[in-house]
Symmetry: C2
Subunit: 343 residues, 2 copies
Amino acid sequence: MELSERKKRILKSVIDAYIAFGEPVGSKYLTESCSFNLSPATVRNEMNELESLGYLEQPHTSAGRVPTTSGYRTYIELLMERYRLTVEEVSLLNELLDFKLGEMSKFMDEASRVISELTNYTAFSVIKKKGVTVKRYEFVRVDGKSFIMLLICDDGNIRSRHVQEIIPVTDEMLSAASVALNESMVNVAPERLALPAIIKFEEMLGEYADFGRRLLKIAYEMLGVTEDEQVHVSGVTKLLSYPEFYNVSKARCVLEVFERKRDLVSVLLDTKSNELNVYIGDEIMDALIPDSSFVFKPINVGGNTIGGIGVVGPKRMSYNKVIAHLEYFVKGLTEEFTEEDNN
Amino acid sequence: MELSERKKRILKSVIDAYIAFGEPVGSKYLTESCSFNLSPATVRNEMNELESLGYLEQPHTSAGRVPTTSGYRTYIELLMERYRLTVEEVSLLNELLDFKLGEMSKFMDEASRVISELTNYTAFSVIKKKGVTVKRYEFVRVDGKSFIMLLICDDGNIRSRHVQEIIPVTDEMLSAASVALNESMVNVAPERLALPAIIKFEEMLGEYADFGRRLLKIAYEMLGVTEDEQVHVSGVTKLLSYPEFYNVSKARCVLEVFERKRDLVSVLLDTKSNELNVYIGDEIMDALIPDSSFVFKPINVGGNTIGGIGVVGPKRMSYNKVIAHLEYFVKGLTEEFTEEDNN
DNA sequence: TTTAGCACTCTTGCACTTCAAGTGCTAACA
DNA sequence: TGTTAGCACTTGAAGTGCAAGAGTGCTAAA
């Protein structure tokens, strides 16, 4: 059913007010603060209908109205005004985008920090690291008994590990290992590694098979080990300043989600499209965080989702502001990536 | 003033009970639960004296007694029983110690997680990264325009960065840079780098001076950039399960400290000795976290403090347990380091 | 020196009242 | 027919008074 213009205006005003103050909105407030030129009674009638249509609800009889999930949904989809980034906000975001840190991980950490600061909600960033394969192995000797093993991976990252042996490591050993690894252990996901390849690898190594096996194990570890490094969370305390979280058991729910970072990763993995996603209330994650919403924007480079950045806030979060920030940031980032690729 | 044996026993019992239940301890409880063979009235008299000596206090007239900071202090120093690690605890800690991850940072992260799990408090680890110098520079080519720069540092860590240039990078350029860097930019803290060395460096490079300068800048960044990676916190939600933090504003204080990780670093830097330190209540950090205590154990290798691990809990934390865990872990770790050095 | 007894203090929980906010409904009005 | 004024109703929040319970300090007796 199509809402009348007046109903839309009232619904929008209710949600705006609720976002701003976090308290149920009554007819009196609406007639006084928004210039409707209507009496409270009329507004009440309209709100009553909006309630039966499922856009609003009352916490209890003698309270004002609060938006329902579907109220927020329509608000986001057709009522909300676009948020205009201020000059300061734009310049902070630009500064962030200019600030290219070598490592993706560092950069996304910084990004979540800045976004959290700007929006005043908790922000998180996710970097997808699934299915990396090694493009090349390199060795750099440190001393007689130790060396650095480098894994040059297809995700553009380099992993390094200082390997310390008990017995002296000869140059021969290193070059044999290097040849064998680069011949038979390249461009394959570690979990797919089949026995024939391993046998071939050990044959190539001959007397150094033990050494090689050890290296392979380390390489395997190095690929797996970064799994949990991919989530950065910032501004957790920000959430606690909203009255809806002024209650330890709720606050705990929130913190627990951020401690078990995997759950956040799953948010990313569930994301089908590359568009910005808004999950209102417990539309996601099985109500793990009550009364809160997620906004998540995937980052897409060359057709692949390489990660994303998101914001968690109370259900009544300032969606337009959050959306504006995320869109701007990701747009800037994607442009940068594409430019770089063209060089 | 020396405490009588009986006073000591009573003080110990009060603190033990308060640590266990978190509620003011009354004379009745003490006479019933601990076998004193004394009447409540006698115990009351003793507690009264302990109060005037400053070891106990009353939240209000009709409540039991609660330890003061100096009560805890004497408890820790002379009353507390040694905690004996259980078989499971020892085996978990040993497992952790065996589980050598390549990177120190990863390892300490894991360590704080395990310690938090075992003690049921929030744990944090700090890695000191100040004043690292580069022992050697290495380059590994990736493709015509990019390569990996490796910094082998005196703290045993290796830092790597994928460097992408716009123009092709020749082998000559790389080897010239390598020679120049390894000749003149080694074993010196980046902030101390003086002009003469830079001039010498650029002279050595000749026509590649620009390239070299760029590399130097990147190296400088790489050394600085890890600054904030050094603190790991685990089990923050654990704190919230203690009634003293069942109050959002206090919980916020705690979380804020963990977000501004620098403050935790300063705890380490303030630590003079290499012994385990206990900071009770607000004896530290200007009462940033009310009603809570810190236990911190520095990790010392070859005369240098390279970091540390600590636990934050309510003021009435189970000091003996926490201390036992930290001591065991750090002892094991230090032994491992020393062994490794002997190889 | 220890203890029993007692008066005192303070918190906690409960029932109760009052107050304000906001509603829905009805009837009057333009 | 849509709008509004008025009123009864509901409900949560806040405040009050009271009794119960826990723990103390003090005094006097053992």
